[in-house]
């Protein structure tokens, strides 16, 4: 979990960094400084920089998070409304539509753009004043004007300068929305809108367009147009009439799923061959990224030898269930399928051979990963050979007894699981107990939240007119101590409050229980069906 999160944050950080100009600490500090100055808060550059540095160096906060946190802390301190600030001119960059379309998947961002209204759609909802498409020479994008935005409606075929519109991602597509802070002014400039009969998101793509050649590892988010040189590892059986080929491709950096749509008119593809995929687009669904070849995509076979590296899947989660079919099982000697009640589904009554496996569910709080552990690994984890397992089961006359051992060993414990991910299961290659907490991570989260709390305190004490703490030159230790002191008093009160609440509800609870108990049977029936 912890490692995973860090990687995710790093990825996110990286992806944002790649796309935003504010890469390093100095430019981040500069942008905060500028933002604050524009809003009348006189904070020294050094103070901002040292706060940022403290966040990134001491507390290991990712730089984007540090920037966010430092910005917000100062805004709160100086009682500046965030909405007002981020609608401010300073933060909205002027962009072309193709650039905006590429911002899909990023957090909502303010931009300026110039575009021509090329379509106005029928009103679909009362909260939407107007929706349609705007275009420029690089692309076309959907726009929405909310009813409460107090913006004047746009006219068809007019070109507008849009100020402070919000880029939102929805269904793998970016669109722009106009709200209270936005403005659309008729532009002097007449712009040529890209000629294309493609729909939004596919704007201006043609078979001969050029894309950057990327590797699988570089395609970890949806909405990227790319070229890709990869080996076709596997082609699935035809699943749908609109799909020509679907399967798995890979290069030296990893593997991913692909879909070649019928519209591409590609008729030949063979597993094991290497192709150059042109004009492919990545799609993200359920957290899995795949690459698709549609109408404008094409493939070229190449002689280059590319060997796909299998993707390693890693998760840290708590074992929350051991599923049926775990422990000592029997397999059909002919087809190797797991038998049930001494029967093979295909070959009937056969003398099965014993096998040991675990089907565990590891839950990381965001996803439940069904995991299969093979005999070899199971023996190692349980410190029990297959022979011993068979013997134990025979002695106790209970084949389920191995399952009980597994449950006791696994459930409620955290594990680092590595393996290969299939559609449904993780096939485990290694499983280890996660047996320590990352104290650094705990520390920075504590500091981060404490700092936010302090900023909130500061904010409220500013309002009541009590004296503002002089923050300049505040060292780490000093800040921590003060916070700790302030917090500990808070906690005493908090705990008092909690225990007061506890004793208050205690009597209610007791009263409720008898009722609950009588009701219990009907409740049970309700719940047992819910898996």
């Amino acid at each position: 979990m912890i490692d995973m999160n860090e990687t995710e944050l790093a990825d996110l950080h990286e992806s944002i960094q790649l796309k935003s100009s504010s890469g390093d600490l100095v430019s981040r500090a500069a942008s905060i400084h500028k933002l604050l100055a524009e809003n009348g808060a006189d904070v020294s550059f050094e103070e901002i920089e040292s706060k940022l540095k403290q966040m990134t160096d001491t507390f290991k906060v990712p730089a984007t998070e540090a920037q966010r946190s430092v910005t917000n802390a100062f805004l709160k301190k100086y009682n500046i409304s965030k909405t007002k600030v981020f609608a401010g001119k300073g933060t909205a960059e002027t962009k072309k539509i193709s650039e905006i379309s590429a911002m899909v998947g990023m957090p909502d961002t303010w931009v300026n753009l110039t575009g021509k209204v090329i379509q106005i759609w029928e009103k679909s909802h009362e909260s939407i004043a107007q929706a349609g498409l705007v275009g420029d020479e690089t692309g076309i994008i959907k726009f929405t004007i909310w009813s409460n935005s107090e913006t004047e409606l746009l006219e068809l075929d007019k070109t507008y300068d849009f100020k402070n519109v919000v880029v939102k991602s929805w269904n793998d597509k970016a669109s722009i929305t106009l709200n209270k802070a936005s403005a659309a002014v008729i532009s002097e400039a007449e712009i040529a809108v890209i000629k294309s009969n493609e729909t939004v998101g596919n704007t201006g793509e043609a078979k001969d367009r050029t894309n950057e050649l990327r590797t699988v590892a570089e395609l970890q988010q949806g909405g990227i147009w790319t070229d890709l040189k990869a080996n076709v590892v596997q082609i699935f059986e035809q699943t749908h009439e609109t799909i020509s080929f679907a399967g798995i491709l890979g290069d030296e950096t990893g593997t991913m799923r692909f879909t070649v749509w019928k519209t591409s008119e590609i008729e030949e593809m063979e597993a094991g061959k290497t192709y150059l995929f042109k004009n492919a687009i990545t799609k993200e669904w359920n957290g899995m990224v795949s690459v698709e070849i549609n109408r404008i995509g094409k493939i070229e076979e190449t002689d280059e030898k590319i060997i796909a590296k299998p993707s390693v899947f890693e998760v840290c989660g708590c074992a929350v269930d051991i599923q049926a079919g775990s422990g000592l099982i029997r397999r059909c000697p002919q087809c190797n399928k797991v038998m049930s009640k001494g029967m093979c589904g295909e070959h009937g009554k056969v003398k099965g051979k014993y096998d040991l496996r675990i089907k565990a569910v590891f839950d990381d709080g965001s996803k439940a990963h069904e995991t299969i552990v093979n005999c070899e690994l199971t023996q190692k984890l349980l410190n029990l050979t297959l022979e011993d397992a068979v013997m134990t089961a025979t002695e106790t006359l209970d084949p389920e007894c191995i399952n009980d051992i597994i449950k006791t060993e696994f459930i409620g414990k955290y594990f680092n699981v590595r393996g290969a991910k299939t559609d449904r299961y993780v096939i485990a290659e290694s499983i280890e107990r996660a047996d320590s907490v990352d104290m650094n991570r705990i520390f920075w989260l504590k500091e981060l939240v404490s700092e936010e709390l302090e900023a909130l305190n500061q904010f409220s004490s500013d309002i009541t007119g009590s004296k503002r703490k002089n923050e300049s030159g505040m060292g780490v230790e000093m800040g921590t101590e003060e916070e700790a002191e302030a917090l500990s008093t808070d906690f005493e009160e908090f705990e008092k409050m909690l225990s007061a609440m506890d004793s208050e509800t205690e009597s209610d609870e007791d009263f409720g229980v008898e009722e609950n108990f009588e009701m219990d049977e009907s409740f049970e029936i309700d719940e047992t069906k819910v898996i």
Partner: protein
């Protein structure tokens, strides 16, 4: 995975569950899963908790029915186990207090005559744990809770300028609870304090 969805075991502190009273089913039918929506916008059917078993009582009249209290750094979870949770009931009948336990279970609700919603947990599994397990859970729960707070705050902020869009759960939670996130930040710090004080 068509037709199959396993409910995630949501991580939340006792205080957050205690503050929750929005319980609903997404479908009308009798067997539809029941969810609780918490102030920070977590939608939970299943939960994972780790803490200290402080009290076990057999409150059943005709058959065994156990009520137990599990303490985390922020408050108390109440769990009930009866004949349909035979393994959990057996565990509780033999369990020592205080001791570390980890529980996977379903949130259940009961409405009292005066309209209060009582939430408790019906265990699927109860297992012995140790301080390390508790620390890992506490750290993880703190992180998950903080992520939810940040997401909810961002959405609350965005809602000032816009009405549509955003996460349904957060939207409903904001509307139902008008949560005070300062309180939950304090809760997080409070929980994290226990780790630095007790382990490593």
């Amino acid at each position: 995975m068509p037709g199959y969805f396993r409910e995630i075991a949501v991580r939340m502190f006792a205080k957050e569950l205690k503050d929750s009273d929005l319980v609903y089913r997404e479908e009308e039918e009798q067997y539809a899963p029941q969810y609780v929506l918490t102030p920070t916008g977590a939608k939970a059917n299943r939960v994972l908790i780790s803490g200290v078993l402080t009290e076990v009582e057999n409150i059943g009249t005709s058959s065994e029915y156990y009520r137990a209290r599990i303490a985390d750094p922020t408050g108390i979870f109440t769990i009930y186990a009866g004949q349909y949770q035979s393994e959990a009931a057996r565990f509780l009948s033999e369990a020592e207090t205080p001791s570390f336990v980890t529980i996977v279970g379903k949130v259940t609700s009961f409405t009292t005559d005066d309209g209060n919603t009582m939430l408790s947990i019906r265990p699927e599994y109860i297992q012995k744990a140790d301080e390390k397990d508790r620390s890992i859970w506490t750290a993880e729960t703190a992180e998950k809770t903080y992520e939810r707070i940040i997401a909810a705050e961002a959405q609350a902020e965005a809602a000032e300028s816009e009405e549509k869009g955003g996460n349904e759960n957060i939207k409903n939670a904001l509307k139902h609870y008008t949560p005070e996130f300062t309180e939950y930040r304090k809760m997080i710090v409070q929980a994290l304090e226990t780790i630095s004080a007790s382990s490593d």
